[in-house]
Symmetry: C2
Subunit: 504 residues, 2 copies
């Protein structure tokens, strides 16, 4: 290209030299943060009002400001006032500790900025995403010639699979006719109450309504009751309704329970139902040589959701939808507007991801996943996932042996428990109510205190604390510290609540 004669003043432009300086500043900030992540609090838990005080209030400024100062102020504010799921003592919900190389992957992805909706706009990125999808399928023992796509997270991954099922299983052209084509029939979706709320959102958003969900009871281990599933399907068929799909969970969000996937697969085959597995959290444990058979059976599913930003430890956002038959995936999403000219040469057709999901323009979220996969390989993940599970078991043992803690469940890398004061009369009719209130308040203190971060779940009406270790920074020491922290907070709150009660 010839020498450029004209220039354009664009306030957003930053010269290469300036970018280098700014980039080094940010790298410095992040590396200093990484150096001390073990020593700081998980969170300082500011209130909304406190945060708003930090932000410049009012409307959009008319004038801009110098990037150096802006970046410095912003990173200071963020590193001082955030919750860090990369902290070794973060065990809330299910958020992976973000891999440092994944962070650099996001940086690189953003700088290249490919639109991974169409091959022509993102040649390398598209092929990297395809390879990433194949590798994830391989890790969990799923056919690598499946259709797949990376999405924002678990909700979206499950939605993509759900929509593939909807298109494949409804007998009319639902994409054109919507539910007008249903001719008044009732359709049923089977799952257990342990399923994540994505299922309510999916049934709601995609036209069935949440009333179309058959909530199958669970057994003592919170796994779907197969007898109940079979009976419900037969009843529904007998009523002239149309059973459509069964959703099994591989690692429930509450307790990490794994449904009896092999048996569910059999039921689905018998009744020609779509078998979807929500493995957003747990599917990746199928990489372990000693993975339970139930987990391995996800290989029989028609579709699987699995989240790299959980147990592949990538930064947010990275979910992944896998659909056994490529055509089922493309069939649910493909549209060809007249101005799209994306065809390639015969025998070397490009993949255009806009045909495989809800989005049109798409970022390059595959890069962070692909980089972390390559950095540690299959063996690296076997080690880290297995260590996380081991830590959850250590916690369970510690909790079980503690006189003032009651252990509930242990599955995959989730352990649940609660604080029970040693002098509480557990036979008292109000004891359970009191324990729920007590443990809920303990959780609040724990979450705001910043020493360690758990979340909670409800197990048969009992409010329990829940540690989910998807964190390659957590050590035995970290996890062994948790029981004493909880008991210390528990004693304090128990005393406060009882004083209040006797004062009333």
């Amino acid at each position: 290209m010839q020498k450029r004669k004209t220039t354009r003043f664009a306030p957003l432009e930053i010269t290469s030299t300036e970018f280098k300086k700014l980039g080094h500043d940010v790298v410095g900030q992040i590396s200093r943060h990484l150096a001390k992540i073990q020593k700081i609090k998980v969170t300082t838990a500011p209130s909304p009002r406190q945060v708003r005080k930090l932000l410049r209030s009012g409307g959009l400024p008319r004038k801009g400001m110098a990037p150096t100062k802006l970046l410095k102020e912003t990173s200071d504010m963020l590193f001082k006032n955030s919750l860090f799921n990369g902290h070794p003592r973060f065990w809330g919900y299910i958020s992976g500790s973000p891999s440092p190389l994944g962070i650099l992957g996001d940086f690189l992805a953003s700088s290249v900025n490919p639109n991974v909706g169409a091959f022509i706009l993102s040649p390398v990125a598209t092929e990297i995403e395809l390879q990433t999808v194949r590798w994830i399928a391989e890790m969990i023992g799923y056919p690598t010639d499946c259709g797949g796509i990376l999405v924002s997270g678990g909700n979206m991954a499950n939605f993509v699979c759900f929509l593939a099922a909807r298109k494949a299983k409804l007998a009319w052209d639902v994409r054109a006719q919507g539910f007008k084509g249903s001719q008044g029939k009732r359709f049923w979706i089977y799952t257990s109450a342990e399923t994540h709320t994505w299922i309510q959102k999916a049934a709601d958003l995609f036209g069935f309504g949440t009333d179309s969900i058959r909530w199958i009871p669970v057994d003592g281990d919170l796994r779907m009751d197969l007898g109940a599933l079979r009976r419900q399907i037969m009843d529904d068929v007998a009523s002239g309704d149309v059973p459509l799909m069964v959703i099994g969970t591989a690692g429930s969000v509450g307790t990490g329970a794994i449904d009896p996937l092999g048996e569910i697969a059999t039921v689905c085959r018998e009744h020609s139902l779509w078998f979807h597995v929500d493995g957003a959290y747990g599917a990746l444990a199928a990489v372990l040589p000693d993975a339970p058979d139930d987990l391995r059976a996800l290989s029989m599913a028609d579709s699987v959701a699995v989240d790299p930003h959980k147990w592949l430890y990538t930064p947010l956002e990275a979910g992944c939808a896998l659909v056994r038959k490529q055509d089922d995936l493309v069939g649910a999403f493909s549209y060809h507007p007249p101005y799209y000219k994306f065809e390639g040469k015969e025998g070397d057709e490009p993949t255009n991801f806009y045909e495989r999901g809800l989005q049109n323009s798409r970022g390059f979220r595959a890069l962070k996943v692909w980089l972390t996969l390559r950095q540690v390989g299959r063996e690296g993940y076997e080690k880290m996932i297995s260590d996380d599970i081991q830590l959850a078991r250590i916690l369970h043992a510690k909790v079980t042996s503690h006189p003032e803690l009651q252990a509930f469940t242990q599955s995959l890398s989730i352990t649940t428990f609660r604080y029970v004061p040693s002098d509480l009369n557990v036979g008292d009719q109000n004891a359970e109510k009191y324990l729920n209130a007590l443990n809920e308040e303990i959780l609040g203190h724990l979450q705001r205190g910043g020493e360690a971060f758990c979340s909670n779940t409800l197990i048969r009406g009992k409010f329990v604390l829940r540690a989910c270790i998807v964190n390659f920074r957590t050590t035995t020491e970290d996890i062994e510290a948790l029981p004493d922290i909880v008991v210390r907070i528990g004693k304090k709150i128990d005393k406060k609540l009882r004083t209040k009660e006797s004062g009333n």
Copy 2:
């Protein structure tokens, strides 16, 4: 926290010192890329097969590899084989040139890694997103107390608004009952054929089916024909059907046409219809002091979609949904699973974004948007957006005066045109067919050649080239070079096609 006694070997961990070194490497690569972005090709347009040769084939490696080497190889591969929408001569589809500060924003966001689904997990990030939403609303003249959320892009932003409309306008509890509650009624969604394909996807995915779309004809300027809209609504009401919403477009993807939004608002008020504006591309031009009245009228919409990764020039992904009434947004998406304990103090309640959209876990995409907004302020955007439009007008003038180019449309920053050989007998009955084939082939050459990148659209069956300037790097010189490039390619292909024809 006391000194740590135990350690954990986690293959993904990277020390602070190592991170600094790797970070500097990446910063160096990106800054070298930025230094030469004006001099390289827009794309080298490799084929899928060529890209696959660059990638290590086969399954997931068992062993990992050293991050330094991995990052170097990866960034080399990406910078040598990608299409760069940050290149001054990229004018395809609608992709903003990514702001360098936005790239650093993504880097910082990924390192803090907040889950912006719940305030407790992302205190600063949540408030920054809320402020970003308010600032975007302010820029386009929309009420700043609206509900809003950042999403992956235009499809998702339009989907969120569409779902808010569905919930607000259907008379039964559609979230619970789905379309079973419709009692056989027919519902209609009105829009013009110039609307982006998100509308087909939305009607399809959310239960109506694409048959529920009333495609209203357009006038000579490709804007929705109001008379036709009114007549269609009245006919449908007379038939006992239920009109639900009208979708106006503020900057159509094909030509940048803006529907008569003020008049559509009036029609919607008269018939109590939801008025949604797809302003993914064009809404941000409402920031200009001399914005057309039609564009300003988007302030009357019940909901608006607008994409920061288009005309705010942020890296992908960043779309934004605005819904006039907060309750309509929350009402369409909120679910409270029993294990969510996100309540705050009275009078200082936290915002939890999982209640405002389809996602549950969410990344911090607001940061790049907020940073670029602060870097240049309102004035900076007024200048850059206005300059982009000016450049499109310059292109239109150049094309109009060129003897072998035919100008079609000019609106916002989109100009459309085609190559017409000077010796072609345009009266010939096959002329139009020939011109379509010719221009389609020109586009392919242009896109693969890497000198400049346009895309195309169809205008009343005519295949035209289309330059959309959402690029703060494009100069007058860049845009003035385009006509000659197209004509040079055009002459070559015209000759080839005619030789082929006469040879047949």
